[in-house]
Amino acid sequence: MTEVEPKIVAFCCNWCSYAGADLAGVSRLQYPPNARIIRVMCTGRLEPEFLLRALELGADGVLIAGCHIGCCHYISGNERAQEKVAMTSELLDVLGIDKKRLRLEWISASEGRRFAETMQEFVKDLKALGPSPLKGGAE
């Protein structure tokens, strides 16, 4: 039986996590290719709508990766992201979508390894959860 590969949409902030992802690549660290990375200048730009829409359009999981708290290039953008993600997570729970499909990580520009590990973990978790219930999968 072939396993269906989970589709991940990853919102990465330009200054930290996107650079971190780049570092993972340059360092030839292996991680599964399930994610489509969308660069934003700051995770603070993210709206709950993006997260929900990604899931509606077929993502099995959504990753939000930003700078560590206190290190945001725009001072407090990541704090805003934290609030938005918390709220979206609560909403997803009520909608019947597992909170684990929404993952918030702080990854700095030097943490290429952390980026790769996050990806590996996320894919593993999503495989365990199965396809998104919005695509007809059971939750």
Binding site: E49, F50, E83, A86, L91, L102, R103, L134
Partner: protein
């Protein structure tokens, strides 16, 4: 007959004599020089289809139905707008949706067929059934309470309040985890296809419970089931009642007891409950039966002011001004609390009240906009929990605690 001609005919818009009374009474036309109901109907009658469909101002109408109510020829302007919006969407004319469209997405997501978790608010002390005569349609109040944590957190308490009240009257309502959004915002933002899908799911699910009466707290859900669902499906096979009329019957039978109250409230007739459905007396009689002092604002009943936003689309300075007008009326009668049955009105008024830079006229004004059902629950004899008056998070931007943030990372 073309599709547009059918829309005009169904709305009775061929009867329009272009008198302009609608425009003279329209709260949006007063503030937006590009919008006039009369002009839109005249253009449609003249066959200027694409002009009407591509007009951005088709989204400026707040569908308050003041025009419908006052038109000498009973033209159903709001119905006309509703159908034209579906045509507009097909042409690529979309509104600017609030919160980037998150609310509509949330509403669509309820109906994708996944097993939801809608009854999280159901605590052990609340008694409900899976099959029975009375179905309580919970709607999206809880979900909206999550989305608008900073402005309307009390909405999360509405479903529990309603069950509490019904339980106190000896009724165990049916609630279902398989309920989906009633689709109100979707049909009013031109998305007929998803609306019909949600409608069918809801009606089939309710019929399967055997319910004879469906009770609503939300004004919009009530209107949608009563009018839009029946427009499409005819007789639904069950009665649709608003909680205000339902509770009055119970009170008459002596089934509900209330505490003494010394708060002065004013009641806001939201458009969907008032002008759309004609329910004006019941909430007032409820307050009377509860011995709550009611002070009336100058513009009430058919003349009630609209909160300025329709289906979470096209919120603008016009909306702000309309909200301000209403709150100033409440301030003018020295009401401490303004009650409403519509969760949208509650969100919009609290949105204005919680602005960092409030309009000058609202500074230092002690006014709370509260949910009527929460208020009733809290006024039940023996109720201890405060739900609406003095609830937390009004006027503050919500803060997520660090521990909650910790739980976000890596899942549970």
């Amino acid at each position: 007959m073309t599709k547009i001609e059918k829309i005009i005919e169904d709305a009775g818009a061929f009867d329009c004599v272009e008198c302009g009374k609608c425009t003279s009474l329209c709260p949006v036309a007063k503030l937006n020089p590009n919008f006039a109901p009369r002009l839109i109907v005249v253009k449609a009658q003249a066959g200027m289809e694409s002009e009407v469909k591509s007009d951005k101002d088709i989204w400026s109408c707040v569908t308050c139905e003041i025009c419908n109510d006052m038109c000498p020829y009973k033209v159903n302007f709001s119905g006309f707008i509703q159908r034209m919006r579906a045509e507009a969407i097909e042409m690529g004319n979309s509104p600017l949706c609030s919160e980037a469209g998150a609310i509509h997405t949330m509403q669509r997501l309820t109906g994708k067929g996944q097993k939801q978790n809608r009854l999280v608010w159901l605590t052990n002390d609340l008694r409900v059934k899976e099959k029975g005569d009375v179905y309580f349609f919970t709607g999206c109040s809880y979900q909206l309470g999550i989305l608008f944590k900073d402005r309307a957190a009390e909405l999360k308490k509405v479903p529990a309040s309603v069950v509490k009240i019904l339980n106190a009257a000896g009724i165990e309502p049916v609630v279902s985890n398989d309920e989906v959004c009633c689709g109100h915002d979707l049909i009013w933002s031109g998305n007929e296809a998803v609306f019909k899908d949600l409608m069918k799911k809801n009606v089939e699910m309710i019929r399967a419970t055997g319910a004879k009466t469906v009770v609503f707290s939300c004004a919009e859900g009530f209107r949608t089931f009563s009018l839009d669902y029946q427009d499409f499906l005819g007789d639904l096979g069950f009665e649709v009642k608003h909680i205000s009329e339902y509770l009055l019957d119970l009170i008459e039978q002596g089934k509900l007891d209330f505490k003494e109250s010394n708060v002065k409230v004013t009641y806001h007739d939201s458009c969907r409950l008032g002008r759309h459905m004609g329910i004006y007396d019941e909430p007032r009689e409820l307050l009377k039966a509860m011995n709550v002092e009611l002070v009336e604002m100058p513009s009430i009943r058919e003349k009630a002011l609209c909160c300025g936003v329709n289906a979470f689309a096209n919120c603008s300075e016009v909306s702000r001004k309309m909200q301000l007008d209403r709150l100033l009326e409440a301030k003018g009668v020295n009401a401490g609390v303004m009650l409403t049955f519509c969760p949208k009105c509650l969100i919009h008024y609290n949105c204005l009240l919680s602005m960092e830079k409030k309009p000058v006229e609202l500074e230092n004004v002690e006014l709370v906009v509260g949910d009527f059902s929460n208020f009733i629950a809290e006024q039940l004899k023996g109720a201890t929990e405060k739900t609406s008056v003095g609830h937390e998070n009004v006027g503050q931007v919500g803060n997520v605690s660090n521990s909650e943030a910790e739980n976000m990372k890596g899942g549970e």
